[in-house]
Amino acid sequence: MAAPADSRRGRLKVFIGMAAGVGKTYRMLLEGHAEQEAGHDVVIGLLETHGRAETERVAEGLAMVPRRRVRYRDTVVEEMDLPSILRRKPELCLIDELAHTNVPGTEHAKRFEDIEAVLDAGIDVLSSLNVQHLESLNDHITELSGVRVRETIPDAILGRADEVVLIDLTPEALLDRLRAGKVYPSERIDAALNNFFKIENLSALREVALRQVAEEVGAKRLTTELIGSREESLAADAPQAVGERLLALIEPYPGAQRLVRRAWRSAQRLGAGLDLLWVRVPGKELSGDEQRSLAALRQLASVLGARMIEEESDDLTSAIVEVASRRGTTYILIGGSRPARGLARLRTPLPQRLMQRLPGVDVRIVADRSLRSSGGSMESV
C-alpha cells in the first residue's frame, strides 16, 4: 500500500468489524509489519491496545510517535500527536479508532479530521472502525443492541476510503475471546457479557456487517462493467461490442419504469449492459409530473446500474440510430407507442424504421402484463 510520499494524497484503508475484539487492530498491525518488511517507512500514529497482550506483542518492532499530553479543564489527557506525525512524514501511518473524539484544544474535534490532514500530506493511513460508529447506522444499531454509541463519523468518510476490509468473527468465537480475557481485563468481562456482548446483539451486528460485503461483491462486478462501457464510448472508432448490450427507449412518464425494469431483467439474463435513452425535443419544457418522473427514472437507473443517456434531437429515429451505433447495441426495447395522429398515421412505425436502419439489431416491444386477460394467477397467499 505504501508509496513514496509526495504531492499526491495518501490512501486510506479501513478495517471494519462488528464489535471490539474481533481483531481489527491486530490485523492493522500485521499489515504494518508487512509494509515495513517490504522496505517502507511505517509508524504507529496512535494505538489503543486496551491492555490486550497479543495486540501489544504484535505492535513490537514498529516505530511509534509518542502521544502528547493535552490539558483539559483540571485533567491532562493523552492524544495523538498530529504535528509530530506530519513532521515525521512516514510513508504509512497506523491510526487506530477512526471515530474517536479529540479533547478540546487539539487541531481538530474528531480523529477522522486528523486523518484527513495526514492523507493530505501524502501519507497513507491504516485505520480501524466498528460498524456501529457509522452515523446513519447508529439508530438502527442502537435499536438492535440497546446500546447507543456516542462517537460517530459521517458515512462519507468511509465512502472515501480506498479500501475497506471487513474483519469477521463468529459471535461464539468473539464471546470465547471475551471470556478468555483477550478483549477486556477480567474486571470488565461480566459487565460486557451482560450488556453489549450478548449473542443476539453480536449476531445482529454481524448480519449488518456481512450484508455490506455481500452487496459489495455485486456492486464491484457492476462497477467493472461500467468502467468498461465508458472506455468503449470514448473510443468512437472502436469495433462493435462482441457481447450483448441493451438499449431501452424511455420518456418521462410513469409507465417507463416498467419498461426499465423489464429491460434490466433481460440484461441480467443475457449478462448484458443496459443503456436507457431519452430523446428530448429541443426547447420543450417539462411539466412538474414529467420532471418528477424523470428524477424517478434517473434514480431507478442508478440503483440498477444502467447508464442513462439524454439526447436532444428533433429526429427521434436518427438519434436512436446514432446512440445504438455508438454504444454497440444489440437489442432495442421500446414500450407500446401512443396512437399516431393526423398525417403521422401515414409514416412507417418506429420499430420498422429502426429495423430498417439498424440491421442486425433486435427490436422488442415490451407489453404491459397487467393488461393480459389470461396467464398466471394473481393470488399469492
Binding site: 447506522l137 465512502g159 456492486a219 409507465g255 393480459r372 396467464g375
Partner: protein
C-alpha cells in the same frame, strides 16, 4: 353558389378534418397514456421481496375512494463501505419483481400506479431522502415486517413524529399471513 365559394368551403372542411385528425387519436378520444389523474398520492414503502396483502388492499381501497395514485416505493439500503450512488444489483433482484407485481395488481384493479425507488444507508434513510424530494399525502405501512430487515418500530415512530403526511400503520391479525410476492407476477419477469 359560386365555384369559388364551393372550393373555399371544401378547403375549410379539409383543413378542419386534418386538424381534427391531428388532435384526436384514431378512436376519438384524447390521448391519456402519459397522464396520471390529478389526485392524492399514496406511498406504499417496502424493503423486502413481499408485502402484507392487507396493506396493499388498504392502499387500493383508499386510492379508489380518493381518486389517488398508489406509489409503491422500494427502499434500497446502501452498504456503508460503498458510495451512496452505487448500483445495488442484489437488492434490486428482490425489489424489482415485487414492484412489478404490485404495479400489475393495482393496474388490473383500475388504480393508477407510479413507482419509486428510494436509496439510503438504512430503510429510514432511504425513506427520508424520498420524502425530501417528493410530496405524499398518505403513507401506508405494515407493522408486521421483520424489523431487522425493513422498517422497524423505531422507524414507524420516527415517521409519526417527523413525516408531514397522513400515516396509516396496519398490523394484520396474527392469522392473516396473506402476502403479495413475486409469485403474483403475470408471466415471467
Amino acid at each position: 353558389m359560386s365555384v369559388g365559394v364551393t372550393v373555399a368551403v371544401a378547403c375549410a372542411g379539409a383543413l378542419l378534418g386534418i386538424a381534427a385528425g391531428y388532435w384526436l387519436p384514431p378512436h376519438g378520444r384524447r390521448p391519456a397514456r402519459n397522464r396520471l389523474p390529478e389526485g392524492r398520492r399514496i406511498l406504499l414503502p417496502f424493503t423486502g421481496d413481499e408485502i402484507s396483502r392487507r396493506s396493499f388492499e388498504a392502499a387500493v381501497r383508499l386510492a379508489k375512494a380518493e381518486n389517488a395514485i398508489i406509489m409503491p416505493a422500494f427502499l434500497a439500503q446502501v452498504p456503508m463501505n460503498l458510495p451512496l450512488e452505487t448500483a445495488l444489483p442484489v437488492q434490486s433482484a428482490r425489489g424489482m419483481p415485487l414492484l412489478e407485481a404490485i404495479e400489475q395488481r393495482a393496474s388490473s384493479q383500475g388504480v393508477p400506479v407510479d413507482s419509486r425507488v428510494g436509496r439510503g444507508r438504512s430503510a429510514r434513510d432511504a425513506l427520508r431522502k424520498l420524502l425530501e424530494v417528493e410530496h405524499f399525502d398518505r403513507i401506508i405501512v405494515s407493522a408486521d415486517e421483520d424489523p431487522r430487515a425493513g422498517l422497524s418500530y423505531e422507524d414507524l415512530r420516527w415517521m409519526l413524529d417527523r413525516v408531514p403526511a397522513e400515516i396509516l400503520i396496519l398490523r394484520p391479525a396474527p392469522d392473516d399471513t396473506r402476502r403479495i410476492s413475486t409469485e403474483a407476477l403475470k408471466g415471467h419477469f
